[in-house]
Structures are given as structure tokens and as C-alpha cells.
């Protein structure tokens, strides 16, 4: 059933945990236990950095059941810096100009919210990278 499926997937969904091939070093996401490059068994967990860029994207205006609450929303293929291509929603993008090649970072957000009675499913999405280094309030600025 649904809850069991979500529970099995939650580790990789919450934090982008995939695998690394010990034979050729390829990083794998989602986990599939076999290296797509060299066919060697690959079962070593690997946590991705969450950094990547938009490879392609599209806006969903007619969402499937369970996602109506979030529409319209943007889905994208994100090329992770470690290599794999991941399909995910973009979030925090209202008013942003989305472009191919735009740097994004992984965040964990609500994927589905089955109303007031069901469970909430959390998982990875990507947002534009937050610029760091905002000028902090200097200690003597307030004087």
C-alpha cells in the first residue's frame, strides 16, 4: 500500500541518498544496486551534495490527483554536479525567471498533502541557490 511505499523511499527522498559504484566511481541516483556504466554491483550509499543546474523544465497547469493544491508548479530535470539527471519540482520560483543552466539546490518540502486526514509526504525539490554573504548588521552601525 501507499504508506509502505513512501516509507521505503523516504531515506532517498528526504536527502538525495543514492549509490556510488566502487568499481568505476560513478554516482547513481536513484539507487538501483547495479552500475549503469560498468554493470558492476553498486550498493554503497552515497549522499549527494544537492547542488545542480536546470537541464530542462516545464510548467504544470493540470496536475495529477493529489497535487492540485500546488498547481501551477514547475517540474524540471536537474543535472546534479555529481552527474545524474533527476526529475523534480522547482520551488520558491514565483517571480523568478527560470532558465536552462540556472544553478539550483536541493531542499526537502511537502510533495503531497492528502488533506486533513491523510499523511504528508515529504521529499526533495530544487530551488534557486540562495545568495550568501548578505551584509550583516555591523555592530556599531546602530550607534
Amino acid at each position: 500500500m501507499e504508506i509502505a511505499r513512501h516509507w521505503r523511499l523516504q531515506r532517498h527522498r528526504y536527502s538525495l541518498v543514492g549509490e556510488v559504484c566502487n568499481h568505476c566511481g560513478v554516482k547513481i541516483f536513484p539507487a538501483r544496486d547495479v552500475c549503469p556504466e560498468c554493470n558492476a554491483p553498486a550498493k554503497t550509499p552515497y549522499t549527494f551534495s544537492g547542488k545542480g543546474e536546470v537541464y530542462s523544465y516545464s510548467t504544470v497547469h493540470h496536475p495529477p490527483e493529489g497535487f492540485e493544491h500546488f498547481a501551477p508548479y514547475v517540474v524540471a530535470l536537474v543535472r546534479l554536479v555529481e552527474g545524474p539527471l533527476v526529475a523534480a519540482q522547482l520551488t520558491d520560483v514565483e517571480g523568478e525567471k527560470i532558465e536552462i543552466g540556472m544553478p539550483v539546490e536541493m531542499v526537502t518540502r511537502k510533495l503531497r498533502d492528502d488533506g486533513s486526514k491523510g499523511t504528508i509526504v515529504y521529499g526533495y525539490k530544487f530551488r534557486p541557490v540562495i545568495a550568501g554573504g548578505a551584509a550583516v548588521v555591523a555592530k556599531d552601525a546602530a550607534v
Partner: protein, 376 residues
């Protein structure tokens, strides 16, 4: 024959016990020195200006709002996702393996589930499971600082090397209620650990708690209720001022000893007034006073103020943080910033980075974000 025994007078309940002198007060400080090893903040991206709320309810000639604007969570955010980002920021400022965290404690009054902990979601996502305690704390706006005190004690006792305490809220105000102007979203995470690894060491902590019904929400109610002006004097000021005065008296400090002070901030007026009454200068409040830009973040309010202070504090400086939770009580913390702060704070986004990231929304979008429009 049965002769009733007189009750020993030493067990008489309560009488005179609230008159304890500050000098008798046992300051809370574990035998093992502990402190904050990592800290992280989170504020969602959306902002609703106070003038937009007054335009909605009072027209263009509306009153002057109590704060400039408040942070509003995105449609896909809640206390679990927000806690997780703050926790990840706290972990980025340390090099520890998350599996060594022995407790993940989330203080909030807006947990996504009535039954099912927020803390297990956070613990699972950061990799602290399965050998960890996980629990959600409740005490209105001081749920997070209470979790912090417990984490400091837990590590101080030696039962744990590291414990994670969070205060996070997506506060709701009833449409048109005075609280709608200030009920914001955000909070902070603190990884508590040994003093040797800390960016701020605990010098002492105290709590001041009474049964005072100034603000409450019953089980199935969507919005909280409050006692209007009653929340001020017997609620906020009585507890904040008592906790702050007591910790300073017990540690032999005066306001000038602190470089920074953070008070719970339901608006800009209350913390400024408490500061003045206690003898602090407005500059001492500046770095930790964020309410004008993000709103009242309830269980997150004092704690995110502390992250703002740690972003700018110099080694050796003393910091006083005093929370307030309705119901009612205050927790006070006396902290000393260490040399480790200089290198560590650059390892994650600063609180300011989140404050300046803003996307303004109108009242209609806000109503949708906060579930005030019901489709069925």
C-alpha cells in the same frame, strides 16, 4: 484508636515559596561544561507587508501596522521542512557525524500533525536515526528554549555528546485579529555539545514559570485566542523581567556586561520596553531584533534572534537570551562567545541571508498560502 497525625508543616504546599531570594536561586548549569556547537536559522521566502493587511481590513486609510512585514511559508512548507533546513545549517557549522546526535527535540505550536512527531522526520532526514531520542515540545513560544535547556542538561549529564534543539513556527492569526499583523514564520536550530567544541559556552540558565492564561488554543481550534492587553504586564513583562533579573543577580552581572541581549519579540515594542526597564541600551538589542522584518516567529523568535547575534558576535562577548511563552514562562540563558565562532559562522547561510531573500505577496496569495481559502 486512630489518631490523625498532624501534617508536617514543611510539606505545606507553595506558601511563601515564590518569595525565594535570587541569592538562593540554583542557576542551571551542568557539571560538565556545555554550549552551542552549531547553529542554523530558517525563514521562508514570502513576505506580507503590514500595510497590505491594514489595506485589506481598514482600506487605504488604515492604521499604522505594528511591524513592517512578516514572513509567510510557501505552499509546500511546514514546521518539519523548515526545521530540517535550520538543522542542516546547524550541521554545516560542525564536522560531527549526525549519527552521534542523541536527541532531536522540536519546540513549536504549529506541528504539522496533532499525533505523529515532527522530530522523527527531522531526525530521519539528517541521519540521526535510529539511536536517538526524538520528541516534540510544547509551551507556546518558549517550547524551543525549553528543549534547549533540556539538551544542555542532557549533554551536561554525559548521557549524550550532542543533542539538537529547535524552535520553529508557522504562526496563524485569525483574519482581522491584531495578531494577524505579526504572526510570522521561521526559527532556529542549535546543536548542543561539549564546551571545547562550542561557538558559545553556557554560563548559566534559569526559568520563571507561573500559571497565567494570557494566550491559548484549544485542541480543535484553528486560531489561538488571547486575553488582549492582559498578555502584556502579567504575561510578557512579569516573566521576562523576572527571569532576566534573576539570572543577572545570580551570576553577579549587570546589563553593561552583555554585548547583546535577545528577548522574545511578539512585536518591536515589548522587547524594547523590557530592555529599557532592565537597563539595556537599544544597541544591545539590535543584532537580535528581527521581528520588524520577519514577524513574530513564536517558538522560533528568541532563538532566531540568537542566530542573528552569533552571526556578528566577537569572541569573548557575553550574550543574554530571554524567551517568553504564554501560559506562562521565560527561560534565560547566559552565554559566552568563543574563538571558534569566527571560522564556523561562514560555513552556512547567515540569518541575514534569509531575511533579505524576500518575495512580496498580496493578501489573496497569503490567504491561499495559509489555507484560509477552503476548496471543499
Amino acid at each position: 484508636m486512630c489518631v490523625p497525625r498532624p501534617l508536617p508543616t514543611c510539606y505545606s504546599l507553595g506558601l511563601g515559596r515564590d518569595k525565594l531570594e535570587a541569592s538562593h536561586l540554583k542557576i542551571m548549569k551542568p557539571n560538565r561544561d556545555v554550549g552551542i556547537v552549531g547553529y542554523g536559522a530558517y525563514v521562508p521566502r514570502y513576505r506580507l507587508r503590514g500595510t497590505e493587511i491594514s489595506r485589506m481590513w481598514e482600506g487605504e486609510q488604515g492604521c499604522t501596522p505594528p511591524i513592517k512585514e512578516k514572513a509567510v511559508p510557501g505552499l509546500d512548507e511546514d514546521v518539519a521542512t523548515m526545521s530540517l533546513e535550520a538543522a542542516r545549517n546547524a550541521l554545516k557549522r560542525t564536522a560531527i557525524d549526525p549519527s552521534r546526535i542523541r536527541a532531536v527535540w522540536v519546540g513549536s505550536e504549529s506541528h504539522p500533525y496533532a499525533v505523529k512527531p515532527t522530530s522523527t522526520i527531522v531526525a530521519e532526514a539528517i541521519g540521526a536515526v535510529p539511536h536517538t531520542l526524538a520528541a516534540d515540545w510544547q509551551f507556546a513560544c518558549k517550547a524551543g528554549t525549553e528543549a534547549m535547556q533540556a539538551a544542555l542538561g542532557f549533554v551536561g549529564s554525559g548521557m549524550a555528546d550532542y543533542a539538537l534543539a529547535l524552535g520553529m513556527d508557522t504562526a496563524q492569526g485569525r483574519p482581522r485579529d491584531a495578531l494577524e499583523y505579526t504572526a510570522g514564520a521561521g526559527g532556529a536550530a542549535f546543536l548542543v555539545g561539549p564546551a571545547e567544541e562550542s561557538v558559545a559556552v553556557l554560563e548559566g540558565s534559569t526559568s520563571y514559570v507561573t500559571d497565567t492564561a494570557d494566550f491559548w488554543r484549544r485542541q480543535h481550534e484553528h486560531y489561538p485566542a488571547h486575553a488582549g492587553r492582559f498578555t502584556g504586564e502579567p504575561g510578557y513583562f512579569r516573566h521576562v523581567i523576572a527571569a532576566a533579573s534573576e539570572i543577572m543577580a545570580a551570576l553577579g552581572r549587570k546589563p553593561a556586561d552583555y554585548a547583546h541581549v535577545i528577548f522574545h519579540q511578539p512585536n518591536t515594542k515589548f522587547p524594547r520596553k523590557a530592555g529599557r526597564e532592565l537597563g539595556f541600551k537599544s544597541e544591545q538589542l539590535e543584532a537580535g531584533l528581527l521581528v520588524n522584518d520577519i514577524g513574530n516567529t513564536y517558538a522560533g523568535a528568541a532563538m532566531i534572534g540568537l542566530t542573528g547575534v552569533l552571526d556578528v558576535a566577537e569572541p569573548g562577548e557575553r550574550v543574554l537570551m530571554v524567551s517568553f511563552g504564554s501560559g506562562a514562562g521565560s527561560d534565560a540563558f547566559d552565554l559566552r562567545v568563543t574563538d571558534a565562532i569566527t571560522a564556523r559562522r561562514a560555513c552556512a547561510l547567515s540569518t541575514r541571508d534569509y531575511v533579505v531573500r524576500r518575495h512580496e505577496i498580496d493578501y489573496a496569495t497569503y490567504a491561499r498560502h495559509r489555507g484560509k481559502i477552503r476548496m471543499e
